[in-house]
Subunit: 358 residues, 2 copies
């Protein structure tokens, strides 16, 4: 069964309103959640709404958060998100970065005391709309084992860079620094399929193709997967994200990053507040005429698209293009939700008395 983005956004907004969020925050958070479904990143869309509701109900997310800038310079700020919802906080932080970039050329906001911000690409798109390059990172609860370890220490910690590309859809690279994000394991679990080697290791550090390995104390592997193919690089990238998002901001980091799921309690004796993001923007015309940049960016894309392809490959895709195409389809045909997600939404509807038609 397909639902329109508007339906899901309206429902999600109403859920947040019922839980006490101010209308502007509810609207932006809802839009950012549903944008994941629109782009085909189903793991990060309304499937996560009930998880947010539980965190709000048990007080770990504050609907009436008032973020506060603790320190700033012309191009930087450190923001305490006051336990707000990351879906809106990251948007707010990017707006601060954009305002700083307008006068200082670039803007950087390290955010502590926040929560899950949905897909990073949403926040980078805000910079793109302002003809800036967006830079978005967040840390997340530990699932990935550093090179040589069998214990999780870093999250799937995404790196996202979004770049305006003139007449083409923007270049948006948004990638987990693990070999595969947890969402891919969940898909394999639902389909009861084996996963490729290189995604997870057992608690003894051996290869595994079991999509349920994490439930048996296994860990995700960093991008690169093994010694030969450069797992130390994925480990380094995930660590950079953790340090910029967590250590620099005053949030938690490493093993201490609180989990998204409400049934797991955060560690006690934690070094910081909530989870952290690191969000920035470079103004393109702080470096060059925007026209020159745009024309060369188009040339970059055309050059990549015209490369010789491997057998069986129809076209060379630019980062962000698969999601852009899915957006066109889903805005027209609606968003297919699984039975489980629909039941989840219906249950929330009943519990909260949203009474929306869907």
């Amino acid at each position: 069964m397909n639902y329109s983005a508007q339906q899901l956004e309206k429902f999600t907004t109403d859920v947040f309103l019922k839980l006490g969020f101010p209308p502007e925050v509810a609207g932006i958070a809802a839009r950012n959640l549903v944008r994941a479904d629109v782009k085909g990143i189903d793991s990060h869309g309304v499937a996560r709404l009930s998880g947010f509701v539980r965190l709000i109900k048990n007080g770990r997310i504050n609907p009436n958060a008032i973020p506060k800038i603790l320190y700033e310079t012309p191009s930087t700020a450190r923001l305490d998100a006051d336990s707000g919802i990351g879906l809106w906080t990251a948007h707010h932080a990017m707006n601060i970065a954009i305002e700083k970039a307008k006068t200082a050329g670039s803007g950087w906001v390290a955010v502590s005391n926040s929560s899950h911000f949905g897909i990073a690409a949403n926040h980078a798109e805000l910079a793109i709309k302002n003809n800036m390059i967006g830079f978005v990172m967040t840390n997340a609860s530990p699932l990935v084992a550093p090179a040589g370890s069998i214990e999780a220490y870093i999250g799937t910690n995404p790196i996202c860079v979004g770049i305006p590309a003139g007449k083409y859809p923007p270049f948006i690279a948004d990638l987990a620094t693990a070999a595969a994000a947890n969402g891919k394991l969940e898909i394999a679990q639902r389909k009861e399929q084996d996963i490729p080697t290189g995604w997870v290791q057992t608690r003894e550090g051996n290869h595994s193709t079991n999509p349920n390995e994490l439930k048996e104390e296994g860990t995700l592997l960093p991008l690169g997967s093994d010694v030969e193919r450069g797992r130390h690089k994925g480990y380094a990238l995930g660590s950079i994200v953790d340090i910029l998002s967590g250590v620099l901001s005053g949030a938690n980091f490493g093993r201490w990053v609180p989990p998204f799921v409400s049934f797991l309690e955060p560690s006690t004796d934690i070094p910081g507040k909530g989870i952290g993001h690191f969000i920035g923007a470079w103004r393109i015309d702080a470096f060059d005429s925007a026209d020159v940049f745009t024309s060369n960016m188009e040339k970059w894309i055309e050059g990549a698209r015209s490369l010789q392809r491997s057998e069986g490959i129809d076209e060379i895709l630019i980062p962000g293009e698969p999601e852009h195409r899915m957006e066109a389809i889903r805005m027209k045909e609606g968003i297919p939700l699984t039975e489980k997600v629909i039941e989840d939404l219906k249950k929330m509807d009943k519990d909260l008395g949203v009474n929306i038609e869907y």
Copy 2:
């Protein structure tokens, strides 16, 4: 045979002086070249000196370059390096970034018209010395095929982030965005050994373990190596580096980035000037008290080091630690050079009349 870092630095400085560089530029360029040997990155050290000499002699590197800021804002600058030597230009660009960060909180310099800058870590270390986080990227001539392609379009394009770590050696992640850098293939070539699958593909797009595959129109694979293990991520990361370093700066990008080797002519009809770098610094105390950051950074490192290890692993290493240890060894015991490199240096000595004892 081992040589001291001082010997090699003196020799390299003298070579640059003979070729007409001003003393300050010669000294810094020489130091940055030899630092690669000191840290154990032998592929990027004095083994490359004769390559630089050829580029200088045929006019592609200008010893008397005067870099010029073409445009700037409080936190950004675009620099035309005037065909200067990257080993010094990147150092100069980082100094500009640091000066901007002192007042604006962060500083960003997009550099065009430059050349090979050695190992990125050198330039990040300059930020670390100023209690800043250094961010260093460069593009390079195309060797890596985007996901789905059998044609090289991006270089091994490194990402380097250097972070001060209090009582511990700094955290320095410096990684090629290919599964393996070309230097690793060269080592296998010398040893006449097969390479692991996942590093290169044949010109038809098949797996290969031949270290000479690039000479037969093969290409390097992006970090992630194959579809299942996320090669699209390495492709995206390498592309980010190319766009920030090349497109944003006004340098060349994609297939048009000029080669390091002098016997290959740069393409005609190129879109920009030379190769490009993207260099930046965030001042740590623009976000938080440096003491709080340092103490949490130490905690991050201690947390990682204390993780449970896989069988056969003696310790969890922090990014930058292997190079830091090699530095301690080589500063004491000297730098072992291969016969081929020694011959190369002797030939330069003779050709240029450096007449140095080594």
